[in-house]
């Protein structure tokens, strides 16, 4: 067993997308990153490059990051054409330099999609995801009105499956990886999570119709069932949830077309 406590040193060339602002013209620019400890994370490598740029009087490369442990969903780099880099089931921040070789040219781009407009360099605006959530990604439950937690048992299988979907970190890698910039995996993960639970049933139809509607409005593309999304997902969320959402959507559409509605929804309070 060779311990990685002994690190090696590599040098790479970064080909980084630089763009001063949303309207500015972007282009690739090369930077030499020399003598890097292979145990460095990719983002730490960018920190080092940025410190050098700053001291040279150049503007550092803007990139989004925060928790650096793969859970907040902020980091969003496309490395050599793959969102979050070469690893499977990890976020950009969990990519380490030991995944690369000495002398490599590494192409670093933002998550590209029309619904993720570029802010600067490698930083994009993912507000569209929040808008989809605001349209229906919730179960309405005011504080104070919740029933006793164990009042409604949830089959363990359903709960575990809901958790599989609920793990989504909202990073947008699914959109970035999809040739159509489709947000189906993101939306279906939330629709699947809440739709699998008994407490999510009351708003189930409303939720899927509203979230899909907003998804379309925000300018995401359509699913062509290639499953690049789940392959790029740092939480390896299955595209089975997309199938589940399609079924839910079809059901909700038919129900909303044929189910009678009350003459009045007001009154009471």
């Amino acid at each position: 067993m060779v311990a990685a406590t002994t690190s090696s040193t590599i040098s790479v060339t970064l080909r980084v997308w630089r763009q001063a602002g949303p309207k500015a013209l972007g282009q690739f620019k090369d930077y030499a990153a020399k003598d890097l400890n292979s145990n460095m994370s990719f983002l730490e490598m960018l920190d080092v490059v940025n410190d050098e740029l700053t001291l040279k009087g150049e503007e550092p490369i803007a990139f989004a990051h925060d928790c650096r442990e793969g859970i907040c969903g902020t980091c969003s780099l496309t490395i050599n054409g793959k969102p979050h880099g070469p690893g499977k089931g990890i976020a950009t921040c969990q990519t380490y330099m030991r995944s690369f070789h000495d002398g490599d040219i590494i192409v670093v781009e933002p998550f590209r999609a029309a619904a993720f407009p570029l802010i600067k360099d490698l930083v994009v605006d993912r507000t569209s995801f929040d808008k989809i959530m605001q349209a229906g990604g919730f179960i309405t439950a005011r504080a104070g009105s919740a029933p006793e937690a164990n009042a409604a048992p949830v089959p363990k299988g359903d709960s575990d499956l809901a958790m599989d979907a609920a793990q989504c970190i909202g990073c947008g890698a699914c959109v970035a990886a999809c040739k159509n910039a489709s947000a189906m995996l993101f939306v279906s993960a939330k629709v699947g999570h809440l739709g699998l639970l008994p407490q999510g049933q009351a708003e189930r139809d409303r939720r899927v119709l509203a979230m899909v509607h907003t998804m379309d409005e925000e300018g995401f593309g359509n699913c062509t069932n290639q499953y690049e999304c789940s392959a790029a997902c740092p939480k390896t969320i299955s595209h089975d949830f997309i199938a589940r959402m399609n079924r839910d959507y079809l059901g909700a559409t038919l129900r909303s077309a044929f189910k009678p509605e009350a003459a009045s929804s007001g009154g009471g309070a």
């Binding site: 300018g219 593309g221 062509t224 959507y249």
Partner: protein, 258 residues
């Protein structure tokens, strides 16, 4: 949103349209092939079958219109979705990379175009008789056939022995004796098979009927279907080119007997 709006105005709705029309078209191409494979039987079979379809009259038109609508909607959905997808992608990556998408799924648009071109030629060739007309002429002696036996469908006699029918059998054999036509046909059904490979798998996803528990089985089924479909389609021009199928000139009934 109303039903029409939800189905035709939303992304998932259009995918459902794509899938449902896909089901119809898969049903058609498979049925079409099964019918055509009767060519390996006595000419009574294929010719009787063709005559039977013609005798359906209005029903045939219902089916034809249904198929035309399915094709139009399939193409409409594909076009709209493609345009939206182009717009949604915005700028493209400098470094292009595919993680695991299959060739069949990535070639859908191109296989679709070739299939469409093939469809147009195929209709012009066998249905409308606009190309290779020499093999179809009403007066051509090879173009008439007198049934030697009854043709039965589900136990009912639909075409009786001695009936004078169009000689579809010869039309097919003569058509495929043209090597260019055969080659185009073989390439086209090859690409159609590839189109079906992704389409068959995909329609289950779009209709929400697929999950990891049986997706491997589904994928294998799609593979078998497409392979059988391709081989079945390959067999007809293949047999003609190999000389295994010949025009049945000898059994032509005299035109005057009509």
């Amino acid at each position: 949103m109303n039903l029409v709006g939800s189905l035709f105005g939303s992304s998932i709705g259009r995918k459902i349209v794509m899938a449902v029309t896909g089901v119809i078209l898969i049903g058609f191409v498979v049925g079409h092939l099964v019918g055509n494979l009767q060519i390996f039987q006595h000419p009574d079979h294929l010719n009787g079958y063709a005559q039977f379809l013609h005798q359906l009259g209005p029903l045939l038109w219902v089916a034809r219109i249904g198929l035309i609508v399915a094709v139009v909607l399939h193409i409409w959905a594909a076009t709209v979705l493609t345009l939206e997808n182009k717009k949604a992608r915005g700028s493209d990556y400098g470094f292009k990379h595919t993680i695991q998408a299959t060739l069949a799924s990535r070639a859908m648009r191109w296989t679709g175009f070739v299939v469409l071109a093939f469809l147009i030629y195929h209709l012009a060739h066998f249905t409308l008789g606009l190309v290779q007309t020499e093999t179809f002429k009403e007066t051509a002696p090879l173009n008439h056939y007198s049934m030697t036996k009854d043709y039965r469908v589900a136990g009912f006699t639909v075409v009786t022995a001695g009936a004078d029918v169009a000689n579809v059998y010869n039309m097919v054999v003569l058509g495929f004796q043209n090597k260019v036509v055969s080659l185009f046909y073989i390439i086209s059904v090859g690409l159609l098979s590839l189109h079906l490979l992704h389409g068959f798998d995909s329609l289950f996803q779009s209709l929400g009927l697929r999950n990891a528990k049986w997706s491997a089985l589904l994928h294998k089924a799609a593979l078998v279907l497409c392979l059988v479909y391709f081989l079945g389609n390959l067999a007809i021009p293949g047999a003609v080119l190999a000389g295994k199928l010949q025009p049945h000139a000898a059994k032509v009934a005299p035109a005057v007997q009509r």
